[in-house]
C-alpha cells in the first residue's frame, strides 16, 4: 500500500486494518508520534490527515490511503506548526514531554482551521491528556500563537 506521509510516498507492507500509529512507528521508524492508550483516550498519537486532527491509534491504515498524513516530524515545515513549536519552547510547555507531540499537532490543527479561536474553541480542541498537568502552559502558548490576550492568570 502507498501511504502519503509528510509529503513523501511510502510503500508500506501492512494489513489495511493496522492502526496508522503502528505503521508510522514501526514500519516507517518515526517515533515522534506516541502510543499512550490505544483507545483514543489520551491523544498522544494525534496526527493530521488532510489537515484534520485524528488519533492514529484507532485510525486504520486503509482509511488514509490516498490522503495526506502529517506527523510531528514535519510540523515545522508548516508555518503555523512552526509558530506553535516556537510558542511551546517560549512558554516552556513540556515537562516529561511524552504527550507533547500530540498537543502540538492538536494546537496546529486548531490554529490552521481557526486562526482566531475563542476560549471555547481552544477548550474544545485541546482535549489531549497530560499527566504532568501542563494544561495552563499549553493554553498560554496557544493563546500566544492566536494573538489572543489571555484572561489574567
Amino acid at each position: 500500500m502507498q501511504l502519503q506521509i509528510n509529503n513523501k510516498t511510502h510503500e508500506v507492507d501492512a494489513d489495511g486494518d493496522t492502526p496508522l500509529l503502528w505503521v508510522i512507528r514501526d514500519n516507517l521508524g518515526m517515533t515522534g508520534t506516541k502510543y499512550g492508550c490505544g483507545l483514543a483516550q489520551c491523544g498522544a498519537c494525534s496526527v493530521l490527515v488532510d489537515g484534520e486532527i485524528v488519533r492514529s491509534c484507532v485510525t486504520p491504515l486503509d482509511s488514509v490511503i490516498g490522503r495526506s498524513v502529517t506527523t510531528i516530524e514535519a510540523i515545522e515545515t508548516d508555518p503555523v506548526g512552526k509558530a506553535v513549536v516556537a510558542a511551546w519552547v517560549n512558554h516552556q510547555v513540556p515537562q516529561c514531554g511524552y504527550c507533547q507531540s500530540g498537543q502540538v499537532m492538536a494546537a496546529t490543527a486548531l490554529l490552521k482551521q481557526t486562526p482566531n479561536p475563542t476560549e471555547d474553541d481552544i477548550a474544545a480542541a485541546m482535549v489531549n491528556l497530560c499527566r504532568c498537568g501542563t494544561y495552563n502552559f499549553i493554553k498560554t502558548a496557544v493563546n500566544e500563537v492566536a494573538g489572543r490576550k489571555e484572561a489574567s492568570l
Binding site: Q95, C96, V127, C130
Partner: protein
Amino acid sequence: MNEILRHPSAEAELPTGAPVNMSRRGFLLGSAGVAAGALVIGFGLPVGTARAQDAAAKVAPGTRVPAFLEIRPDNTARLMSPFVEGGQGVFTAMAQIVGEELDMDPQSFVVENAPTGPDYLVVFGKMRITGGSMSVRTSYDTMRHLGASARAMMIEAAATRLGVPAAELTTEPGQVVHAASSRKVSYGELAGDALNLPVPAADSVKLRDPSQFRWIGKPVKRLDMYDKSTGRAIYGIDTKVDGMLHAAVQHAPRLGMTVASIRNEDVVKAMKGVHSVHKLDGAVAVVAERWWNAKRAVEALQVQWNEAGAEAKGKGIRVMPADFSTAAFADRLAKEPGAGKDAEKEGDAAGVLASAKTVVSATYHSQYLHHAQLEPPSTLARFNDDGSLDLWMPNQAPEMFQADIAKMTGLDASKVNVHSPLLGGFFGRHFLYKSANPYPQAIQLAKETGKPIKLIWTREEEFLRDPMRPMAAVRFRGALDETGMPIAIEAISVCEGPTEGISGHNPDKMDPTALEGLTGKDYAIPNKRIAQLYVENPTMLAYWRSVGNSMNDFLYESFLDELADKGGQDPYELRLKLLKDNPRLSNLLKAAGEMSGGWKRGPYTAADGTRRARGVGMASPFGSYTAAIAEVSIKAGEIVVHEVWEAIDPGSIVNPAIIDAQIQSAVALGLSQVLLEEAVYEKGVPVARNYDLYPILPPSRMPRVHARIVESGEKMGGIGEPGLPAIPPAVANAVSTLTGQRIRSMPLSHYTFEA
C-alpha cells in the same frame, strides 16, 4: 575534547536512529561529524580500561570530573546526570549547578543520563535513585564541587598553556582569562589537557559566593524543550537496535497464576508476522516482526491458567485472591480491631480524650491509585556476542536494576549495561517492583529467540500489573477545650506503607512512608498519638508522587477542619493559632492567604453568580513546606475547582521557573486524585484497564494555579513532590464548606452533590 570516562561496553552502541536522550544540539553536532554517542573519537588522552577500573574501585562519588563532563572544541559541554529526566527538569538543574561553578552557560550543555557506576552514587554520597524529591537537595554541594573542580582544572591547564602562574588567571563563561596579557583561552581548547589533570582535592577548590550566582536561582530555560516539542526526544519505548523483534504479553488475570496450557498456539503461530509464542512466568508472549502483530496475536491466545501454588510466595509476589474487592477491603480496614503501634506520641492523648467534654471521631479513607504515566512500560533487551547484555528501559535507579538483572541472569554486573532513556512520566512508577517491570520478560524472550527484543506493555497490561499507592483507613479522634481549641489528636492508620509493601514488613520497625503526613505535622496540639495498625494488602504496592503524604495530609488536614468546625473556629484562623510559635509556617500560610486576596472561606456568590467556597490545606513533605487554598463551586453535580493558590518554602532554590512548573504539575496530580482517581478491584481483577474507566485530570478540569516561592533561606528541600499533598485537603475542605457535607474519602466523583 576529552572523553567521558565510562564503562566501554555501556557506550559501545546506542540504538540505531538516534542515541538515547539525544538533544537537538547533540544531534547537530552528530550531523556535523562529531558523533555525540560515539566516544571512541576522543581528543584527550585515551583512557585505559585498567586506569578506569582502578579509579572506579576507590572513587568518591561525584568527584571524578572526566566521568561527568566532556567539553567539546566548540565550547559546548556534555554532562552525565546521575538523575534521570522525567519531566521534573533535573537535567537543566544539573547544568545550572555545574555550569555556575565551572563558569559555563547552562545553555551550552547537553545533558544525558549517566550509565551505571560508582561515580554517580551522589545521593547522600552513597546511592543513586531519582526519587523522594532528593536529586538537587542531596547532590547540590557535590555537583557544585564537581563544577568548581573542573574550573580549577581548566585554570591549571591554561597556566601551563600560557606559561603564567595559575593565580593570575580568572574565568569568564567558557574561557580562562589572563587579564595582565589580555589573553583568553576557551574551555574547548583546554579540555583535552585539563580533564586529564588530576582532580584537585575537594577542600582546595573555592566555591562561588552565592551572591555572585548568575544561573543558580534564576529561571534558566530548560534544555529539553525543543526536542520535546518536535517529537525528537527519545523515550524507552522509542529505542531500537538492528535486527530487533517486537513482543507483546498477556498477563494472567490474577497475579500468582501460572500458565497451564495454550489451546490455540498453532493457530496463533500462523498469524501474520508472528515469529514465536512463549510461556513466561505468569504470562504468555508473542514475538513478531511488528509490535501490532505481536499484540494482536498475544490477545488471540487462549490460555488455561493455573491457580497460584505455594511457590508464588517464594518469588516475592502477592497472590491476588479470586474474591478480592477494594470495597470490602476498605470496610475491613475501617473495622480492623486494634489500637496500632505508636509512631509519634506527645503528652497523653488517651487520657485527654477520655476526659474531654468535646470529642470528635471520624474514619477517613484513601484509595488505591495508578501511576498512569502516559508512556507504557517497555524494555529493549539485547544479548551481545561478548556475553554482555544491553537493556534500554525506563528506570529511576539504574544500579539497582543492574544488580537485580545480574542476579537473575547469572551475569557479572559489569556485563549488564543499563541504559536509562528519558521517562514519559514516572511519578514513582519506575522503581524496582517485583512483577511490575517488563525486563525479566524481555530478557527471557531475547534469550529464547536469540534476537534483540523490544517488549511494550499495552495500557491494559500496565493497569493490570501497575503496583499501586496504598489505601488506608484512618480512625481519628480529637479533643477540644472549652474555647474550641484542639488539645488532643489521635490517628490510627490501618494500612500498609509502600516501603514495607515493597521490601517486606518488619514487625519490629515502623515504615515511615506509611504515616508521613499524619506524623511530622507542626501544629501545636499538646497531646498526640499517631499510630499504625498494620494490615497486609493483597495487592502489590508502590511509591506514588509524594508517597505517604499523597494521602495522609488529605486525611489529617480534612479532619483538622472537622475539629475547627466543631470548635466554632475558622479553619484558616485555627491553623494560624496552632502555628503561632512557628514563624516559618505562619509566614507561609499568610503568604497563601495574601495571594488569594485575603482568606475568605465562604460560601459566597462570585461575580458570575456561582456559589463558591474556599478551603485550606498545609503539608511538610520532603524537606519543603506548603500551604494551599482552593476555590470551588458545583456545576451540574460536579465539583469545579476555579483557582488554586499555593505557597512553597523549599528553603533555597535553583530554578524558580521549574519550581513554578512543578507546582502546577503537582496541583494537577493532587486534583486528579481528589476529583477523579481510584483503582477499583472486583473479583480479584481491576475494573479499569485503560483511561476510559480510570479517568485522569483532563484539561477541562484544570484550574488557574498561582504559585509563590517563599525562600526562607533554610536548608534546601525537595521540589518535585511537595506541591501535591496540600491540594486534596484544600479542595475537600472547600467542598465541605460549600455543601455542608463532610468529605472523608477520595475521589469526589463518588459523592452526589446538589447543583
